[in-house]
């Protein structure tokens, strides 16, 4: 009996490791920023002549959403953001990544603009500072400027309702 138990045990161990491996999403690279101070932000804005800096957002719970008009998944994500912006007063900042102003404005005109502010990262330098590698990406930043959560890929209803909404209300009650 015991001589069958050992191979069976090894098999179960191996199978469970492989099952875990299959269910991991290799795109979800853990962000080194979670729990740390967010990288600085100092960029021109899309619709205004002035700039947007990290200091403007001090003391607020805010969301940074990285998007581009060339990004297909951003299109899928956009209705979710529109709906969220309409029902919540959280500061939603857009980071327009490696795009042109004309394309970005046209995109927002046809799909709607959920953002309070839009920072323009023309050459992608700020994207590198923030460790962006797969647009769209979304960061949640607390009042002290610490990154609390990062989502890679489009936000869907599930992520919004299960992760982002509860997190925002928790952070907003925290002083």
């Amino acid at each position: 009996m015991t001589r069958y138990l050992l191979p069976l045990g090894i098999f179960i161990l191996l199978a469970s490791f492989l099952a875990i491996g299959l269910n991991l999403d290799p795109r979800e690279v853990p962000s080194p920023f979670v729990g740390k101070q967010a990288p600085p932000l100092d960029l021109p804005r899309l619709y205004n002549a002035d700039r947007i800096t990290s200091n403007d957002l001090k003391g607020k719970v805010w969301i940074l959403n990285v998007w581009a008009s060339w990004c297909v998944s951003c299109r899928a994500e956009h209705p979710v953001l529109n709906e969220y912006a309409a029902t919540s007063d959280v500061t939603l900042v857009g980071l327009n990544y490696k795009d042109t102003d004309v394309d970005a404005k046209r995109w927002l005109a046809s799909l709607g603009n959920p953002y309070h502010l839009i920072a323009v990262d023309r050459n992608g330098d700020t994207g590198i500072e923030w460790g962006v590698y797969g647009v769209p990406e979304t960061f949640v930043i607390d009042r002290n400027g610490v990154v609390i959560y990062k989502h890679i890929g489009p936000i869907d209803e599930g992520v919004l309702n299960d992760k982002i909404k509860p997190l925002i209300s928790e952070l907003e009650t925290r002083s």
């Binding site: 795109r27 690279v29 853990p30 080194p32 590198i128 500072e129 460790g131 590698y133």
Partner: protein, 163 residues
Amino acid sequence: MISIFKRSISRSRWIIALVIPALLWSTLAWSAIESREFDDPIHEARYYNLIKKLRCLVCQNQNLADSNADLARDLRNKAYDMINAGRSDAEIADFMVDRYGEFVLYDPPLDFHTLFLWGAPFLFGLIGGLVFFNLVRKRKSDRETVVSQQDLDNARNLLTRDD
């Protein structure tokens, strides 16, 4: 006539033998990355060594040197600028790790949470060695079964019996 035909076959074989590798080679040439100019050959060597060791986050199973992705090109530019600005390899690697995590390094560093990753080959080798050693010892002990004196005598009797 036949000989001409044969010659044309052998010639077309030659052409195929030359053309196919050339075609394959052209895709290699096409996927090659942008050329860089360096003031210092040491910088050049460091640059090409570095972009081989850094992972392209978009394609994941390619390094920065092999990748055509937009981000890979941006990060190559970054590495190039940093080398020319006199930053060390360690500083550039730290810069990447700070922003993209340890995943950007092709060789994960040996620390506590990668201990199993680095230790596993030795562990499995050890387990395999022990299993092998046990099997060999068991075989050997099987072969050295003790035969009782009576069995030996019986066998000898059988062999020496006159028919």
